[in-house]
């Protein structure tokens, strides 16, 4: 058996110690309980504190479990919270772009649509909330695969079906698409999932800079593209929307 990392073992012991009672503990109590030199114990505590797993009471100097640790258990962002925060921004995106807007999150091996704003043209449309879309060919899916490692694994492991002649299926080409997505900050889907349909999407981050979803516009390729290229003002509008939602979730400027 490979040797375990000693400092991680010690950190785990500290967390257990702090979780054991209601009391806050001082540095020397922690050090002596775990049979550590004060300097060693302090170094580990400081690291845990920087990660938010431990907090130090400013007056007594004693340590207790940090809020971050409590969040770990249910750290995922509630998708309904995400929708509520995104509502005004996605409405505005639909209005300014003239196209329909979708908000997607990773779910199993695909993109779960959690919010959908109709194209503002009064035509008959059906709410697509709850629908699943593929990860490897849609703009939303590519954004998730590019930014979220879990989504990336799913996208790499599944068989990437060719929905149209333009669908990228080869492993290297697909990685190339994801590199490009990360470099540009957005992903596109020009007739790669549905004939005649193009989309552009950008990532939404939470306050810890974790990718929590993707937002994008979808429409007829004739409207979304011009001279074979995605319309730049559309890309800008999608990215503005993604940034606005991220800001609402507490992410800093980036």
């Amino acid at each position: 058996m490979a040797r375990n990392i000693q400092s991680l073992e010690r950190a785990a012991a500290m967390l257990r110690l702090l979780a054991g009672g209601e009391r806050r503990l001082g540095l020397s109590e922690i050090a002596s309980a775990l049979d550590l030199a004060k300097g060693t114990a302090h170094g580990i505590l400081r690291t845990l504190q920087a990660e938010g797993f431990v907090e130090q009471d400013p007056t007594s100097g004693r340590y207790q479990l940090g809020a971050e640790l409590l969040r770990l258990g249910n750290s995922y962002l509630d998708v309904h919270e995400l929708r509520a925060r995104a509502l005004v921004w996605t409405d505005d995106l639909a209005r300014s772009s003239g196209e329909s807007v979708h908000l997607g999150v990773l779910h199993q091996q695909g993109v779960l649509i959690v919010h959908h704003v109709f194209r503002p043209d009064d035509s008959r449309q059906v709410l697509e909330v709850g629908a699943m879309q593929p990860l490897h060919s849609t703009a939303l899916g590519k954004v998730l695969s590019a930014y979220d490692p879990v989504a990336h694994n799913e996208a790499v492991e599944v068989e990437r079906e060719a929905f149209t002649v333009r669908t990228v299926t080869g492993p290297e080409e697909f990685e190339g698409v994801l590199d490009l997505t990360r470099a540009r900050g957005y992903a596109s889907d020009v007739e790669e999932t549905w004939e005649g349909v193009a989309a552009v999407a950008a990532p939404i981050h939470d306050r810890r800079r974790m990718p929590v979803g993707a937002v994008g516009v979808t429409g007829a390729v004739e409207r979304v593209c011009k001279d074979g290229e995605l319309r730049p003002e559309l890309i800008a509008a999608v990215r503005d929307c993604a940034r606005a939602v991220s800001r609402d979730l507490g992410a800093g400027r980036f």
Partner: protein, 514 residues
């Protein structure tokens, strides 16, 4: 793609609300250009009493108007008109010579006039003035609040009878100040706000001499009743005079009526429901003031300039969003309001549980103050997820009850329900609503329907928009939920709900004391 950077000209709308004052600048497509908002203090002098400092409110209104205009980066030449929407029924008396309020404004939620209203009912009861005013004698409405002030502020009645005192709801206060205040400010109100005073005859759109006398409000202090969309005056004097002097002040609508207008419910039978802490549903009943026998209020929907007034039926639900907050804050079953959907979605149905949130009695259509909340149908099988589902269903069933009452009173079937307010982000609730109503539920693209309504009315008054048809064309559907429940299930569930409602009644003893 339309241009993301909207070009002028614009309309500004002031929303003088219960907790804050806001100003939103809209462009010709009805899109939001900028927003500014400021909260004001809620004053609670005694249990059940709620007041606002009207001077603070006027200061805030000036600040948010200046703020929104500056955020939009525009000048007075870009703004064609200013419209006003306001918290309804909140009552203020002020001195017309000094412009000083004689007392804090008494807010609509304030219950200090409860016993006065009972007294005013005499041997007839709370429907004494219903035929003329469309309203039951209840503590919300403005007339009795004015009477309370006249009775309780030293020397006020003499000053009022001498003609030194002006009465107004918040629309009147804001318009009077905007148009010059002590220097020729226009003392006006619109038909929708006047319809909430209990002093206006709903059929003539005039102050009712007999009722004013019965309630004890001298007519000389009442504002002139005008339509909801016409030029009342121009911005004059004060800090806004420098910034926006000369801009027409061109609309006033009570907040719920403004939302009806913003949702472009211009045809008879069209209805909107606003889902916030509580819920207010209004249905356009055209040129007929329909007397309700089902516990709804009859009110003015709006009046555009010289055109005939349009009436509405109104039903309110006391506890909707606040029930979700209760689940979060008092029960601790969820961490955020949005999580109610996550919890409720984890089960297929309510597991047989029904939640009647009659926390302060049942409102429309029952009006039973002796009712209190119940959760019925509990078994060992029921989990917190089923309760969460029952919470959302309670909002949907209560909407259904009001819809049924409206259909009964008006004879008009609801074709579709237009919704707005914070709870419209709850997809499960909206689907449930559609299932229970057996009608499509549609959400518009602009969530700020209240401000939009005031902007629309002001824009119509100055010709910025040509007609209600043009406004209708501005309306954009953001989402639509269609019914997906078989009639048998719906009827069975409705019956169970009604049984649960039955069980909430009569909890308090007859004295009505808790």
């Amino acid at each position: 793609m339309t241009d993301a950077h909207t070009a002028g000209p614009f309309i500004a709308a002031i929303d003088q609300g219960t907790t804050s004052s806001r100003c939103i600048v809209f462009d010709k497509d009805g899109r939001i250009v900028s927003v500014d908002q400021k909260e004001h203090e809620q004053i609670f002098p005694k249990p059940g009493w709620v007041e606002h400092d009207a001077t603070e409110i006027w200061t805030n209104v000036q600040e948010v108007v200046a703020g929104a205009v500056s955020k939009a980066g525009i000048t007075r030449d870009d703004i064609k008109a200013i419209g006003i929407t306001n918290q309804r029924e909140t009552t203020l008396l002020w001195d017309k010579n000094t412009g000083e309020p004689v007392h804090n404004a008494i807010v609509w939620q304030d219950t200090r006039t409860d016993s006065l209203c009972k007294e005013l009912g005499r041997n007839v009861g709370q429907d004494r003035f219903r035929r003329e005013t469309g309203l039951p004698l209840a503590s919300y409405f403005a007339g009795p609040k004015a009477r309370w002030l006249l009775d309780n502020v030293e020397g006020l009645r003499e000053r009022a009878e001498a003609g030194d005192i002006l009465f107004g709801t918040m629309d009147s206060w804001v318009i009077w100040n905007l148009t010059g205040g002590v220097d020729g400010g226009k003392h006006v109100t619109d038909v929708t706000n006047a319809s909430r005073t209990m002093l206006m005859n709903l059929h003539k759109m005039e102050w009712d001499e007999r009722i004013c006398e019965s309630i004890g409000v001298p007519q000389q202090m009442l504002p002139e009743i005008r339509s909801s969309a016409e030029v009342y005056g121009e911005v004059t004097g004060g800090s806004l005079g420098d910034l926006l002097g000369g801009i027409p002040v061109a609309s006033a609508l009570g907040d719920q009526q403004a939302a009806l207008f913003g949702q472009t419910c211009f045809a008879e039978g069209e209805a909107k429901s606003t889902y916030g802490t509580g819920t207010f549903m209004l249905m356009n009943t055209g040129d007929k003031a329909i007397n309700s026998y089902s516990g709804l209020l009859t009110t003015v929907g709006y009046q555009i300039g010289e055109q005939k007034p349009v009436y509405a039926l109104e039903g309110s639900i006391a506890v909707t969003g606040s029930l979700v907050q209760w689940m979060r804050d008092q029960m601790g079953l969820i961490n955020s309001a949005a999580e109610i959907e996550t919890l409720a979605s984890s089960v297929e149905d309510n597991g047989g549980a029904y939640f009647v949130p009659a926390f302060s009695g049942l409102f429309a259509p029952y009006w039973r103050s002796d009712a209190r909340g119940v959760i019925a149908g509990l078994t060992r099988y029921v989990t917190k997820a089923h309760i969460a589902r029952a919470v959302l269903e309670a909002t949907a069933w209560q909407t259904r009850e009001i819809t049924d009452a409206m259909t009964k009173d008006s004879g008009v079937e609801l074709a579709a329900l237009k919704v707005d307010g914070g709870m419209t982000s709850n997809n499960l609730l909206m689907q449930t609503l559609s299932d229970f109503l057996d009608a499509p539920v549609v959400r518009p693209m602009v969530a700020e329907t209240t401000c939009l309504g005031a902007a629309y009315a002001a824009g119509l008054a100055v010709g910025f928009w040509s007609s209600t048809d043009e406004l209708r064309a501005n309306w954009r559907r953001a989402a639509e939920w269609t019914p997906n429940m078989d009639a048998g299930t719906r009827d069975r569930e409705y019956k169970s709900w009604l049984k649960a409602v039955e069980r909430s009644m009569g909890w308090l003893d007859e004295s009505g004391e808790e």
